[in-house]
């Protein structure tokens, strides 16, 4: 068996759509970096296509979407669909922002792994991403 050097977890943090509220996304990006992950923050006003292309190019382990505008039921299914089309099904997809409880089951069915609502801590998010990405990697080897 070839020994694969440990590489740091790579996360894409993205702001899709027209929502400009980036306080949370930037805090999460920084917390993930402080926790030793490599983070690519896309900046604002990304289309689903731009997000998935970036994820592909950056070879990320996880995508974190931050969305507060109420457009999540349109944007997230589109992201999931593009991820599947690009062969990124194994990439972890998590979401943070203003997502009503009633929308969570639908999002999860569509491919979102977890939704972090207001009050979630950066530590929870770090632990979740680390835990799930590491488990997925062990699953492969």
């Amino acid at each position: 068996m070839i020994a694969v050097p440990d590489r740091r977890i790579r996360v894409l943090v993205a702001k899709p759509g027209l929502d400009g509220h980036d306080r949370g996304a930037k805090i999460v990006a920084r917390a993930l970096r402080d926790a030793g992950m490599e983070v690519i923050y896309t900046g604002l006003r990304q289309t689903p296509e731009q997000i998935v292309n970036a994820a592909l190019q950056e070879d990320v382990d996880a995508i974190g979407i931050s969305i507060l505008s109420g457009a999540h039921n349109t944007i997230l299914p589109r992201i999931s669909e593009l991820m599947r089309a690009q062969g990124l099904d194994e990439v972890l997809l998590v979401v943070g922002g203003i997502i009503p409880d009633v929308d969570i089951p639908g999002l999860k069915q569509g491919g979102v792994s977890e939704v972090f609502q207001p009050g979630a801590t950066t530590q929870e998010i770090v632990a979740y991403i680390r835990g799930h990405v590491e488990a997925a990697k062990k699953g492969e080897v």
């Binding site: 759509g17 805090i27 457009a71 039921n73 950066t122």
Partner: protein, 569 residues
């Protein structure tokens, strides 16, 4: 140029280090020491929400050299610490102005009528993201976003529906719109015109504060310099044609929501104000021609006294800036008139009824701080736009405050408090320090281009989040006093039928209107944008022809370009 705002004698004299009396020192040595040994204080240090250290006790020793005439003044007298009006709320209660907007113009019109019937005294319009970003409802980037964060407005026809049956000559309207402010204001003016209202009589406010978009709210379209040109055009147009209108609401609310401290909120807002004044002066206007109609917008967060001090400091600083830095002679140019909104970012998704308490305290801070106008958030703020029930309770909060609490019975009731006056002075001093830093960077546009205010805000936001996660700051119901059970509340939902409805109306409009006229007006706008003519008359012509927000903004996108913020590292 003599900046004239250097902290200098008056601010530092009264805020220099305290010099306790010998009686106080004896008290500390004997009584306090024994008390603390028996029962230690709950924390090592006590700070405001923003991290400003707070002493155990404030006494006259904390205001050495305090001069009531110089440091306080009378209400409506320089430096306006005590308020901008002689009688304040004894004469007229602040305007109760609930920020409203969702789904279709019909839905929002209904909500506006409802709130007026419930006793609100001013209108405030929230637009949806496509409108805010200068896209029509049928633009690909509008998918999923139409009507979700505010009301969808693509053309004058939508504005006519939005304001149907509302008495625009009797009531003031504030519109939270920034990049396309000229277009939306032109639509409002066109509606007023059609209803026979006189532009010389109508009053209201357009937010139109583009600098804070780059800093915090991020609803920019064009790059800073052409965007400033648009703001200047609206200010000069207003001064001449719509003299009772407040063409700008220089805002700190969003800066605070992005995570800044109270001092940063104050300093970046007022420094934005300084920047706007400088830009308009370069057009050759006399400062007193436009300064009386500059207005401001602050946040009211949880820390009661920090917020009150911030409001009082704001008035003192702005008065001094206008009189000394800009040489304004008209006392009305010295006034920091402001609207306040209670802090949305302080409200929680968990145990949402706790938010009613937070909003009440924050509203109290704004009132004790002397606000002219107030919006109180609804308890469902962290979940969705407000339901009718939730917004009614938010309005009732203001009404109870106004009519039952007694705080309106006298002007600036807390003046003379050793604590509050000290905190006001410290806030002023800290604000002037930020002015110096930003001046040294070359002004606010330069500071923004260097990413300075954005970085300050992010660092403050990160530190605050860490403090919460370490339980150094408590958020009731979130990191302490949590409930295992969730009691879900009913929230407002907005579905895609809004987008379909609005798209259909837009399609019909495009068929009905005189498209040749639309084209001509858009071309004229594009040509004028390449010169230094005032664009408002051109925008008005486009609007009267029923050009859309998207069409007008696309013209300007071609001429001005679009802005992308520097990468966040």
């Amino acid at each position: 140029m003599n900046k004239g705002h250097k902290a200098g004698n008056d601010v530092t004299t009264a805020s220099r280090d305290r010099n306790p009396s010998s009686a106080e020192r004896r008290w500390e040595g004997r009584t306090l020491k024994a008390a603390r040994e028996k029962s230690p204080e709950r924390h090592q240090t006590f700070t405001t929400l923003s991290g400003v250290p707070i002493q155990r006790l404030y006494t006259p020793a904390d205001l050495p050299g305090f001069d009531c005439a110089r440091d306080l003044g009378d209400p409506s007298e320089y430096p306006f610490a005590r308020g901008i009006h002689r009688t304040m709320y004894r004469g007229k209660v602040w305007t109760m102005r609930q920020f409203s907007g969702f789904a279709t113009p019909e839905d929002t019109n209904q909500r506006l009528h409802y709130l007026l019937a419930q006793g609100q005294t001013g209108l405030s319009i929230a637009f949806d993201l496509p409108t805010l970003m200068g896209y029509d409802v049928d633009h690909p980037l509008a998918q999923g976003e139409v009507g979700k964060c505010g009301v969808a407005v693509s053309s004058l026809a939508d504005m006519e529906t939005l304001f149907a049956g509302l008495p625009l000559e009797e009531i003031t309207t504030s519109m939270t719109i920034n990049s396309p402010a000229a277009m939306i204001w032109a639509m409002y003016l066109a509606v007023a015109e059609k209803n026979g209202a006189d532009w010389k009589k109508i009053s209201g406010t357009t937010q139109n504060d583009i600098l804070k978009e780059y800093i915090a709210q991020k609803e920019y379209i064009f790059p800073p310099r052409p965007s400033m040109r648009l703001v200047v055009d609206t200010i000069t147009f207003g001064a001449r044609q719509v003299p009772r209108w407040n063409p700008i609401s220089i805002s700190g609310y969003h800066i605070r929501e992005a995570g800044s401290t109270a001092v940063q909120e104050l300093a970046f807002t007022l420094r934005d104000g300084i920047e706007y004044v400088e830009w308009v002066l370069r057009m050759g206007m006399n400062v007193d021609e436009f300064a009386p109609r500059l207005s401001f917008f602050f946040n009211a967060h949880n820390d009661l006294f920090e917020e009150i001090a911030k409001c009082r400091a704001a008035r003192k600083i702005w008065a001094r800036v206008m009189r000394e830095r800009f040489g304004a002679a008209n006392p009305r140019s010295w006034l920091c008139r402001f609207h306040t909104q209670t802090a949305g970012c302080s409200l929680t998704a968990q145990q949402p009824y706790n938010n009613v308490i937070r909003t009440t305290l924050q509203a109290l801070a704004a009132v004790l701080g002397g606000t002219q106008s107030l919006h109180t958030n609804s308890l469902d703020e962290a979940w969705a736009l407000p339901t009718e029930q939730a917004v009614t309770l938010a309005l009732r909060t203001q009404q109870v405050l106004a009519h039952e609490s007694g705080v309106t019975n006298t002007v600036d009731p807390l003046a003379g408090s050793y604590f509050l006056e000290r905190l006001t002075l410290e806030t002023e001093r800290a604000c002037y320090e930020y002015f110096d830093k930003i001046d040294a960077l070359g002004g606010m546009v330069a500071a923004i281009e260097k990413g300075y205010p954005q970085r300050e805000i992010h660092d403050a936001a990160y530190a605050y989040q860490q403090a919460i996660e370490r339980k150094e700051k408590i958020v009731v119901g979130v990191n302490e006093f949590v409930s295992a059970e969730k009691h879900p509340i009913e929230i407002l939902t907005i579905d895609e039928s809004v987008a379909r409805h609005q798209c259909q109306k837009l399609a019909e409009l495009r068929k009905k209107r005189d498209n040749a006229r639309v084209q001509a007006t858009l071309e004229a706008l594009g040509s004028a944008a390449g010169t230094d003519e005032n664009l408002m008359p051109y925008v008005l012509e486009c609007v009267r022809a029923y050009s859309t927000v998207g069409e007008m903004c696309d013209v300007l996108r071609r001429v001005f370009g679009t802005y992308e913020e520097p990468a966040f590292r």
